[in-house]
Protein backbone atom coordinates (compact mmCIF):
# COMPACT_ATOMS: atom_id res chain seq x y z
CA UNK A 1 0.00 0.00 0.00
CA UNK A 2 1.10 3.53 -0.73
CA UNK A 3 2.49 5.51 2.15
CA UNK A 4 -0.21 7.98 3.28
CA UNK A 5 2.46 10.42 4.45
CA UNK A 6 3.07 11.16 0.78
CA UNK A 7 -0.49 12.40 0.44
CA UNK A 8 -0.09 15.01 3.15
CA UNK A 9 0.10 18.50 1.74
CA UNK A 10 3.37 20.16 2.68
CA UNK A 11 1.86 23.66 2.66
CA UNK A 12 -1.03 22.69 4.91
CA UNK A 13 1.06 20.87 7.46
CA UNK A 14 1.24 24.13 9.37
CA UNK A 15 -1.79 24.44 11.62
CA UNK A 16 -2.58 28.12 10.94
CA UNK A 17 -2.61 27.51 7.18
CA UNK A 18 -4.83 24.49 7.63
CA UNK A 19 -7.16 26.60 9.77
CA UNK A 20 -7.29 29.40 7.19
CA UNK A 21 -8.22 26.97 4.42
CA UNK A 22 -10.87 25.29 6.56
CA UNK A 23 -12.55 28.62 7.31
CA UNK A 24 -12.50 29.54 3.61
CA UNK A 25 -13.93 26.15 2.60
CA UNK A 26 -16.82 26.66 5.01
CA UNK A 27 -17.53 30.26 3.91
CA UNK A 28 -17.89 31.98 0.53
CA UNK A 29 -15.24 34.49 1.50
CA UNK A 30 -13.66 35.94 4.62
CA UNK A 31 -11.84 39.22 5.21
CA UNK A 32 -8.46 39.75 6.83
CA UNK A 33 -9.67 41.24 10.10
CA UNK A 34 -12.37 38.64 10.64
CA UNK A 35 -9.81 35.89 10.05
CA UNK A 36 -7.41 37.50 12.47
CA UNK A 37 -10.08 37.69 15.14
CA UNK A 38 -11.28 34.14 14.58
CA UNK A 39 -7.85 32.52 14.58
CA UNK A 40 -6.42 34.79 17.26
CA UNK A 41 -3.11 35.43 15.47
CA UNK A 42 -1.03 38.55 14.83
CA UNK A 43 -1.21 40.63 11.63
CA UNK A 44 2.26 39.61 10.50
CA UNK A 45 1.76 35.94 11.25
CA UNK A 46 -1.53 35.80 9.36
CA UNK A 47 -0.13 37.77 6.41
CA UNK A 48 2.82 35.38 6.05
CA UNK A 49 0.60 32.32 6.00
CA UNK A 50 -1.84 33.92 3.57
CA UNK A 51 1.09 34.71 1.28
CA UNK A 52 2.22 31.10 1.38
CA UNK A 53 -1.26 29.88 0.47
CA UNK A 54 -1.56 32.47 -2.26
CA UNK A 55 1.77 31.38 -3.74
CA UNK A 56 0.39 27.85 -4.07
CA UNK A 57 -2.76 29.32 -5.70
CA UNK A 58 -4.86 27.76 -2.94
CA UNK A 59 -6.61 31.05 -2.25
CA UNK A 60 -7.54 34.10 -4.29
CA UNK A 61 -7.58 37.69 -3.10
CA UNK A 62 -9.87 40.58 -3.90
CA UNK A 63 -9.16 44.07 -2.66
CA UNK A 64 -11.79 46.76 -2.34
CA UNK A 65 -12.66 49.76 -0.22
CA UNK A 66 -15.34 49.78 2.46
CA UNK A 67 -15.99 53.26 3.90
CA UNK A 68 -12.72 54.33 2.29
CA UNK A 69 -10.82 51.74 4.31
CA UNK A 70 -9.04 49.01 2.37
CA UNK A 71 -10.76 45.66 2.70
CA UNK A 72 -9.06 42.45 1.61
CA UNK A 73 -11.21 39.39 1.09
CA UNK A 74 -9.96 35.85 0.60
CA UNK A 75 -11.56 32.96 -1.24
CA UNK A 76 -10.50 29.36 -1.58
CA UNK A 77 -9.76 28.27 -5.16
CA UNK A 78 -10.81 24.93 -6.65
CA UNK A 79 -7.18 23.89 -6.39
CA UNK A 80 -7.16 24.77 -2.69
CA UNK A 81 -10.41 22.94 -2.04
CA UNK A 82 -9.12 19.76 -3.69
CA UNK A 83 -5.83 19.99 -1.80
CA UNK A 84 -7.68 20.48 1.50
CA UNK A 85 -9.82 17.41 0.90
CA UNK A 86 -6.81 15.32 -0.02
CA UNK A 87 -4.94 16.49 3.05
CA UNK A 88 -7.86 15.63 5.33
CA UNK A 89 -8.20 12.19 3.77
CA UNK A 90 -4.49 11.58 4.31
CA UNK A 91 -4.73 12.65 7.97
CA UNK A 92 -7.68 10.34 8.53
CA UNK A 93 -5.84 7.50 6.83
CA UNK A 94 -2.83 8.03 9.09
CA UNK A 95 -4.93 8.03 12.21
CA UNK A 96 -6.69 4.85 11.11
CA UNK A 97 -3.44 3.08 10.33
CA UNK A 98 -1.86 3.93 13.64
CA UNK A 99 -4.86 2.77 15.61
CA UNK A 100 -4.40 -0.76 14.28
Amino acid sequence: MKNPFENLDKVMEHRVRLQIISVLVANDSYDFNALKELLDVTDGNLATHLKALEREKYISISKSFVDRKPNTRYKVTERGRTAFKKHLDAMEELIKQQRK
Partner: protein, 207 residues
Amino acid sequence: MDKNSDYQKDIESIRELMERSVKFVSLSGLSGILAGCYALIGAAVAYSMIQYPLSPISYRQESVQDIYIIIKSLVIALVVLIVSLSTGYFLASKKATKSGTKVWNSASKKLLVNLAVPLLTGGVFILFLLFYGHFGIAAPACLIFYGLALVNASPNLFDEFRYLGYTEIILGLISTALPGYGLIFWAIGFGVLHIIYGAMMFKKYDR
Protein backbone atom coordinates in the same frame (compact mmCIF):
# COMPACT_ATOMS: atom_id res chain seq x y z
CA MET B 1 2.39 7.83 18.71
CA ASP B 2 2.80 11.57 19.14
CA LYS B 3 2.23 12.53 15.51
CA ASN B 4 -1.10 10.73 15.62
CA SER B 5 -2.59 12.84 18.39
CA ASP B 6 -1.29 15.87 16.49
CA TYR B 7 -3.42 14.99 13.48
CA GLN B 8 -6.37 14.33 15.70
CA LYS B 9 -5.94 17.74 17.29
CA ASP B 10 -5.70 19.31 13.83
CA ILE B 11 -8.92 17.69 12.72
CA GLU B 12 -10.70 18.76 15.90
CA SER B 13 -9.54 22.35 15.52
CA ILE B 14 -10.71 22.38 11.89
CA ARG B 15 -14.13 21.07 12.76
CA GLU B 16 -14.55 23.60 15.55
CA LEU B 17 -13.32 26.50 13.38
CA MET B 18 -15.52 25.65 10.43
CA GLU B 19 -18.53 25.66 12.69
CA ARG B 20 -17.54 28.81 14.57
CA SER B 21 -16.78 30.74 11.36
CA VAL B 22 -20.27 30.07 9.95
CA LYS B 23 -22.54 29.73 12.95
CA PHE B 24 -23.52 32.42 15.41
CA VAL B 25 -22.62 30.44 18.51
CA SER B 26 -23.03 33.23 21.06
CA LEU B 27 -26.80 32.96 20.99
CA SER B 28 -28.07 31.91 24.40
CA GLY B 29 -30.87 29.39 24.93
CA LEU B 30 -32.01 31.45 27.87
CA SER B 31 -32.98 34.30 25.55
CA GLY B 32 -35.31 31.88 23.74
CA ILE B 33 -36.99 30.93 27.00
CA LEU B 34 -37.38 34.59 28.00
CA ALA B 35 -38.64 35.60 24.53
CA GLY B 36 -41.26 32.87 24.86
CA CYS B 37 -42.35 34.21 28.25
CA TYR B 38 -42.63 37.77 26.90
CA ALA B 39 -44.74 36.49 24.01
CA LEU B 40 -47.07 34.65 26.39
CA ILE B 41 -47.46 37.76 28.54
CA GLY B 42 -48.13 39.80 25.40
CA ALA B 43 -50.70 37.28 24.23
CA ALA B 44 -52.40 37.35 27.64
CA VAL B 45 -52.62 41.15 27.54
CA ALA B 46 -53.99 41.04 24.00
CA TYR B 47 -56.51 38.38 25.01
CA SER B 48 -57.80 40.44 27.92
CA MET B 49 -58.25 43.34 25.52
CA ILE B 50 -59.76 41.59 22.53
CA GLN B 51 -61.71 38.52 23.55
CA TYR B 52 -61.86 38.64 27.29
CA PRO B 53 -65.33 37.40 28.20
CA LEU B 54 -65.01 34.73 25.52
CA SER B 55 -62.95 31.61 26.16
CA PRO B 56 -59.79 31.63 24.03
CA ILE B 57 -60.73 28.31 22.45
CA SER B 58 -64.45 28.89 21.98
CA TYR B 59 -65.59 28.25 18.43
CA ARG B 60 -65.51 31.30 16.19
CA GLN B 61 -65.36 31.67 12.49
CA GLU B 62 -64.96 35.37 12.11
CA SER B 63 -61.85 37.27 13.11
CA VAL B 64 -61.52 40.68 14.74
CA GLN B 65 -62.46 43.49 12.37
CA ASP B 66 -61.97 46.54 14.60
CA ILE B 67 -58.97 48.59 13.42
CA TYR B 68 -58.30 50.03 16.91
CA ILE B 69 -57.96 46.57 18.40
CA ILE B 70 -55.62 45.66 15.53
CA ILE B 71 -53.45 48.69 16.20
CA LYS B 72 -53.34 47.91 19.92
CA SER B 73 -52.31 44.30 19.20
CA LEU B 74 -49.65 45.56 16.80
CA VAL B 75 -48.20 47.76 19.52
CA ILE B 76 -48.13 44.82 21.95
CA ALA B 77 -46.43 42.64 19.33
CA LEU B 78 -43.83 45.35 18.66
CA VAL B 79 -43.08 45.74 22.36
CA VAL B 80 -42.65 41.95 22.69
CA LEU B 81 -40.34 41.96 19.66
CA ILE B 82 -38.16 44.83 20.90
CA VAL B 83 -37.85 43.47 24.45
CA SER B 84 -37.02 39.97 23.10
CA LEU B 85 -34.36 41.29 20.71
CA SER B 86 -32.74 43.42 23.43
CA THR B 87 -32.69 40.45 25.83
CA GLY B 88 -31.21 38.27 23.08
CA TYR B 89 -28.52 40.81 22.29
CA PHE B 90 -27.68 41.37 25.95
CA LEU B 91 -27.34 37.66 26.73
CA ALA B 92 -25.39 37.01 23.51
CA SER B 93 -22.85 39.73 24.27
CA LYS B 94 -22.47 38.34 27.79
CA LYS B 95 -21.86 34.85 26.42
CA ALA B 96 -19.43 36.21 23.81
CA THR B 97 -17.39 38.12 26.40
CA LYS B 98 -17.22 35.00 28.55
CA SER B 99 -15.80 32.94 25.68
CA GLY B 100 -13.51 35.78 24.56
CA THR B 101 -15.19 36.46 21.21
CA LYS B 102 -17.35 39.27 19.86
CA VAL B 103 -21.08 39.31 19.13
CA TRP B 104 -20.57 41.33 15.99
CA ASN B 105 -18.57 39.08 13.69
CA SER B 106 -18.70 37.68 10.21
CA ALA B 107 -21.14 34.92 11.21
CA SER B 108 -23.63 37.20 12.95
CA LYS B 109 -23.58 39.64 10.03
CA LYS B 110 -24.44 36.82 7.63
CA LEU B 111 -27.13 35.63 10.01
CA LEU B 112 -28.70 39.09 10.08
CA VAL B 113 -28.83 39.36 6.28
CA ASN B 114 -30.28 35.86 5.92
CA LEU B 115 -32.96 36.62 8.51
CA ALA B 116 -33.73 40.08 7.17
CA VAL B 117 -34.78 39.10 3.65
CA PRO B 118 -37.79 36.91 4.59
CA LEU B 119 -38.62 39.01 7.66
CA LEU B 120 -38.75 42.34 5.86
CA THR B 121 -40.70 40.76 2.99
CA GLY B 122 -43.15 39.35 5.53
CA GLY B 123 -43.35 42.64 7.44
CA VAL B 124 -44.26 44.65 4.36
CA PHE B 125 -46.68 41.94 3.20
CA ILE B 126 -48.46 41.91 6.56
CA LEU B 127 -48.73 45.71 6.63
CA PHE B 128 -50.50 45.51 3.25
CA LEU B 129 -52.77 42.74 4.58
CA LEU B 130 -53.74 44.97 7.49
CA PHE B 131 -54.11 48.03 5.26
CA TYR B 132 -56.63 46.19 3.06
CA GLY B 133 -58.46 44.74 6.03
CA HIS B 134 -57.38 41.10 5.83
CA PHE B 135 -56.92 40.94 9.59
CA GLY B 136 -57.62 37.21 9.92
CA ILE B 137 -54.49 36.00 8.15
CA ALA B 138 -52.03 38.54 9.59
CA ALA B 139 -51.14 36.37 12.61
CA PRO B 140 -50.61 33.19 10.52
CA ALA B 141 -48.50 35.23 8.08
CA CYS B 142 -46.24 36.29 11.01
CA LEU B 143 -45.66 32.63 11.88
CA ILE B 144 -45.05 31.55 8.28
CA PHE B 145 -42.56 34.31 7.43
CA TYR B 146 -40.77 33.87 10.76
CA GLY B 147 -40.48 30.15 10.04
CA LEU B 148 -39.15 30.83 6.54
CA ALA B 149 -36.61 33.29 7.96
CA LEU B 150 -35.33 30.68 10.43
CA VAL B 151 -35.03 28.00 7.75
CA ASN B 152 -33.24 30.48 5.47
CA ALA B 153 -30.78 31.49 8.21
CA SER B 154 -30.35 28.00 9.65
CA PRO B 155 -26.81 27.50 8.24
CA ASN B 156 -25.72 30.36 10.53
CA LEU B 157 -27.59 29.04 13.57
CA PHE B 158 -27.60 25.94 15.76
CA ASP B 159 -29.23 22.96 14.01
CA GLU B 160 -32.34 23.10 16.22
CA PHE B 161 -33.40 26.37 14.57
CA ARG B 162 -34.15 24.61 11.29
CA TYR B 163 -36.70 22.39 13.04
CA LEU B 164 -38.11 25.37 14.92
CA GLY B 165 -38.53 27.03 11.50
CA TYR B 166 -40.38 24.04 10.03
CA THR B 167 -42.64 23.87 13.09
CA GLU B 168 -43.50 27.58 12.80
CA ILE B 169 -44.35 27.20 9.10
CA ILE B 170 -46.64 24.20 9.72
CA LEU B 171 -48.29 25.99 12.64
CA GLY B 172 -48.80 29.08 10.46
CA LEU B 173 -50.45 27.03 7.72
CA ILE B 174 -52.80 25.33 10.18
CA SER B 175 -53.60 28.74 11.63
CA THR B 176 -54.40 30.09 8.16
CA ALA B 177 -57.14 27.48 7.87
CA LEU B 178 -58.62 28.54 11.21
CA PRO B 179 -59.14 32.32 11.13
CA GLY B 180 -60.22 33.76 14.46
CA TYR B 181 -57.79 31.56 16.37
CA GLY B 182 -54.83 33.70 15.34
CA LEU B 183 -53.99 34.80 18.87
CA ILE B 184 -53.82 31.31 20.30
CA PHE B 185 -51.61 30.07 17.44
CA TRP B 186 -49.48 33.17 17.83
CA ALA B 187 -49.07 32.36 21.55
CA ILE B 188 -48.09 28.76 20.72
CA GLY B 189 -45.68 29.74 17.93
CA PHE B 190 -43.92 32.64 19.60
CA GLY B 191 -44.47 31.64 23.23
CA VAL B 192 -44.57 27.90 23.81
CA LEU B 193 -42.25 26.88 20.95
CA HIS B 194 -39.59 29.41 21.97
CA ILE B 195 -39.68 28.16 25.54
CA ILE B 196 -39.40 24.50 24.45
CA TYR B 197 -36.61 25.05 21.90
CA GLY B 198 -34.88 27.61 24.15
CA ALA B 199 -34.79 25.09 27.00
CA MET B 200 -33.44 22.40 24.66
CA MET B 201 -30.67 24.68 23.43
CA PHE B 202 -29.89 25.96 26.93
CA LYS B 203 -29.38 22.38 28.06
CA LYS B 204 -27.22 21.54 25.06
CA TYR B 205 -25.06 24.64 24.48
CA ASP B 206 -25.06 26.84 27.57
CA ARG B 207 -23.52 24.51 30.09
